[in-house]
């Protein structure tokens, strides 16, 4: 427990001083956005064992809505983010309501197929800019006082949002609601026989995860100033799965570690190896699934704190 606190304090300090360590702030913000996306995804995969294979749909559509409102209609920063999140939430509600009718592998296939539907709608709709995407999205000002144009200012805004989401997800997982999700993860038929309306719990978890993924997408649109089709594509859905799996699904820090690894890898490798980067990503997937299913953080927790893990299990 003490080790845990130390890790979080060190990480918080690192996050606060990161822009002054010579790291490129836009890159750091991109990391935070994808880390938030992966944390949102982990709420489903890690704590409820629902593999959504189409999470880019919420990430990307929210990014599009935010970008479109901020650019074309001149909406304020907060309003366009909230609108984006609302769209992601609604989309999550509709797709979730259809997908939770099936479990496991079917759930994955259905979420994938419906996210492909969202992709094609984004490809053909007018407001998304089709193949070109949206460009020149202004960051605007926060509550009319804080201009977000400067990278370091924007960084602290994104960091604050990330911390809020991170704490929120921790709260959810440790709440009675989160305990029911855990029960569903461990043994769904048992949870049903205990009288829980499992589908409803799963849908709420799905909508929450979709909304937070949407928030990550909106922030990413503002940080980078553009949205493209790749943000709603199957590739992005795959990446968020890889981040969560590689870092450790079902752990709090795992998705963050995974996001840092995958985004850094892509950033630096795509210059060196070009198109071959997808071979490397695929290779990591294979290695991860065959030898490394707990992910980095999961393996570390198992090696260094097996007793603590057991205690938690017994107490739970």
């Amino acid at each position: 427990m003490r080790a845990h606190t130390v890790i979080f304090v060190v990480l918080s300090i690192l996050a606060l001083i990161a822009p002054w360590l010579g790291l490129y702030p836009v890159f750091l913000m991109k990391l935070l956005c994808f880390a938030m996306f992966a944390c949102a995804f982990n709420l489903l995969l890690g704590y409820t064992k629902m593999l959504s294979f189409g999470h880019a749909a919420y990430f990307g559509s929210s990014a599009y809505v935010t970008g479109w409102l901020a650019t074309v209609h001149g909406w304020g920063t907060v309003e366009s983010i909230l609108a984006g999140v609302a769209v992601a939430m609604l989309l999550g509600l509709v797709i979730g309501a259809i997908a939770v009718r099936r479990q496991g592998i079917y759930f994955a296939m259905i979420t994938l197929a419906l996210s492909q539907l969202v992709f094609f709608v984004c490809l053909q709709a007018n407001f998304t800019g089709g193949e070109n995407g949206l460009q020149g999205i202004p960051r605007g000002t926060l509550f009319g006082v804080m201009a977000l144009g400067r990278d370091r200012t924007m960084y602290y805004f994104v960091l604050a949002a990330f911390v809020a989401v991170f704490v929120f997800i921790r709260r959810i997982v440790h709440s009675p609601f989160g305990q029911v999700l855990n029960a569903i993860r461990a043994n769904e038929p048992r949870a049903i026989s205990l009288g829980y309306k499992v589908d409803r719990y799963k849908l709420v978890a799905f909508v929450l995860s979709a909304s937070l993924a949407g928030l990550a997408g909106s922030l990413k649109a503002l940080v980078l100033g553009f949205v493209t089709l790749s943000d709603v594509s199957q590739g992005t859905s795959g990446e968020v799965i890889l981040m969560t799996l590689l870092g450790g699904s079902g752990t709090f820090l795992g998705p963050v570690v995974g996001a840092i690894l995958v985004v850094t890898l892509q950033e630096y490798l795509s210059d060196v190896v070009g198109a071959w980067v997808s071979v490397i990503i695929g290779g990591i997937f294979v290695v991860c699934v065959i030898t490394f299913r707990r992910g980095f953080v999961g393996e570390i927790q198992r090696r260094f704190a097996p007793r603590a893990g057991e205690l938690v299990k017994r107490a739970g």
């Binding site: 099936r102 079917y106 197929a113 709608v121 799965i241």
Partner: protein
């Protein structure tokens, strides 16, 4: 000239024919997917990649090795099927005891690798594969011209689908396969080599995908990404048809291909999404799929 919904009849028939061609590829692919899932419990995300590899095997054979279409029709599925067997031995067999989600993730990674390698080697642009000489031209049916190659592609796919159905439902080998799908340990106890059967089944399912790729090569562009969006449509087809049924996979593949073709004439903007919309409606109405038993 007759017209339906203000669209001339030949245009409708032409798109229906195209839809039938696509539908027969969906049928071949979803058939392989269903057989693999039945025995291995693995949803083979790499199915689209194997389809792509089949088409590329034919292309490479013709361009660099002088292998003609008819030989490719036999050799490409064989080569890609062997690759499938290697992948099953190296990776997939470690996952049978685990959650089926891991099989999906592993094959997703394999698909990324295969597509990445082909893109690295051949670039992202499409390559054209010529229609073999003996299948060029068309029949004039009076109301439309039917390209011979398309008729052949549909005929070949449906024949292979029929043979596969016969093999699984009507032969002793198929009976063993079905029994192993129900209870692999019991079948193993009767002295049947189940791991061998699992390996061969994966290879055969993959070979079916590659065969669809070879058949598709002359009617579509051969490109590294040709399978990646196709596999999602095939997933939707499988969800609609219900994973457990072979006839379901074949019929829903064909029908959805034709519906997609019709949508292209009536409301082209929706032709990419119509299968997914139908999937959503089927799920609301009948969550187990049209032919599913659960």
């Amino acid at each position: 000239m007759t017209a339906v919904f203000g669209v001339p009849l030949p245009a409708i028939l032409g798109q229906l024919m195209l839809g039938l061609v696509n539908g027969s590829f969906y049928a071949l692919l979803s058939l392989g997917l269903a057989v693999i899932f039945g025995l291995l419990g693995v949803v083979n995300f790499a199915h689209g990649a194997f389809y792509m590899l089949g088409a590329f095997a034919a292309y490479i054979g013709l361009q660099f090795l002088g292998v003609n279409y008819w030989c490719a029709l036999l050799l490409a599925p064989l080569a890609v099927g062997l690759l499938g067997i290697v992948i099953e031995r190296l990776f997939l067999r470690h996952l049978y005891q685990l959650d089926p989600l891991y099989g999906l993730l592993l094959t997703f990674g394999i698909a990324l690798i295969a597509e990445g390698i082909m893109r690295g080697l051949f670039g992202a642009s499409g390559k054209s594969y010529p229609v073999p000489e003996s299948l060029q031209g068309g029949f004039n049916l009076g109301f439309m011209v039917l390209p011979i190659y398309r008729a052949w592609a549909v005929f070949a796919s449906l024949t292979v689908c029929g043979l596969t159905w016969f093999l699984i439902e009507r032969t002793r080998l198929g009976a063993m396969l079905r029994a192993a799908t129900e209870n692999a340990r019991l079948v193993q106890a009767f002295g049947i080599n189940v791991p061998l059967m699992v390996m061969t089944t994966y290879g055969a399912g993959v070979a079916l995908a590659a065969l669809a790729g070879v058949l598709a090569a002359p009617v579509t562009q051969v490109s590294p990404l040709m399978g990646s969006s196709l596999v999602i449509v095939v997933f939707a087809v499988v969800v609609i048809g219900g994973m457990g049924s072979i006839i379901g996979a074949i019929v829903s593949g064909l029908v959805l291909g034709m519906i997609e073709g019709l949508t292209k004439v009536i409301y082209p903007e929706a032709s990419n999404i119509v299968v997914f919309v139908i999937m959503a409606m089927v799920l609301i109405w009948r969550p187990t799929g049209l032919f599913g038993r659960e």
